[in-house]
Symmetry: C2
Subunit: 178 residues, 2 copies
């Protein structure tokens, strides 16, 4: 019999993580939410008898990561990115202020990491923030501008995929931190 191919339903990594977080919330496993997209609102209309309408707004760059919350009493903070690249994860997907934020979280004792999906391989990895920092800092010392897929395979953790928890990252946290 064919294996069910959950991963091929055209859901983005973000959608998969959101569904996972809803499952974690409903099952009382963790309380983790995606932050809303930051928007600079310039003009709003207030029509009579109906909801306010934003008529002019702009996307702002996020100053933090996309996801945070609490798991087993610990502060959790992560960024999620997918790439179509087969051999490496380009560091241009990340911004300096996100790294600054992740370093601050790490210093304050939070559990901080990245979730990286290689779409061509249909694989989603956990990579600790500390390992990300290494590659981030190296690029300014003449190092490469991407993290090799082979490094992530060896030094990250493959995140299990189940129907209810499509990106079941707390399983990795359980192994690494508890």
């Amino acid at each position: 019999p064919k294996k069910p191919d959950f991963s091929n339903r055209g859901m983005t990594l973000e959608e998969d993580i959101n569904v996972t977080n809803e499952y974690y919330l409903a099952s009382n496993t963790a309380v983790i939410h995606k932050k809303p997209t930051p928007v600079q609102i310039v003009r709003v209309d207030y029509p009579k008898r109906s909801a306010a309408v934003i008529k002019e707004g702009y996307f702002k760059q996020a100053s933090t990561t996309d996801y945070n919350g609490i798991y087993r009493g610990n502060y959790i903070d992560f960024e999620a990115k997918e790439t179509r690249n087969k051999t490496s994860f380009p560091l241009s997907n990340i911004h300096q202020h996100q790294i600054d934020h992740m370093k601050a979280v790490h210093e304050h004792g939070g559990i901080c990491f990245m979730i990286i999906r290689f779409t061509p391989h249909q694989e989603t990895f956990f990579l600790s923030a500390v390992k990300l920092f290494y590659w981030w800092d190296e690029q300014y010392k003449g190092g490469r501008k991407s993290i090799p897929y082979s490094y992530i395979q060896r030094n990250g953790k493959l995140i299990p995929f189940t129907y209810q928890a499509r990106v079941d990252y707390v399983k990795v946290l359980d192994k690494l931190f508890f």
Copy 2:
């Protein structure tokens, strides 16, 4: 000599907390951010050679609180509200899903609370989530629909006001939790 009147500069509670959080971040005290306002984006224009413009969007109700982050290794989560009421804080300022969120955070071991400013008194209070839950649940058992100012005075904590940390709420956390 007159006391400097910092509190009368027309800054909202949200602005004061944002300045405070910036100070906490810069002084390596805590990493706490306001979440962006949730917006449902319906239509976006992509003009040539300039930034994407949101042409139609709507405000969505927040499913969580406004602020979260990490302090002394602990997950922190709070909602901030100001009222012009002199004698009580109306519970209509809070939504059921925010209470649900705060209860989940509390169960998972996070530090969860409200910051309530009584604008007429120029006083800003810390009120633990557990005390909020009491009044919230009471209103559905025939209780009142607001928390008396006198209760908050006695059972909350007045948050100190300083120039750099205009709503210096971690001082209250230090006394209560550490």
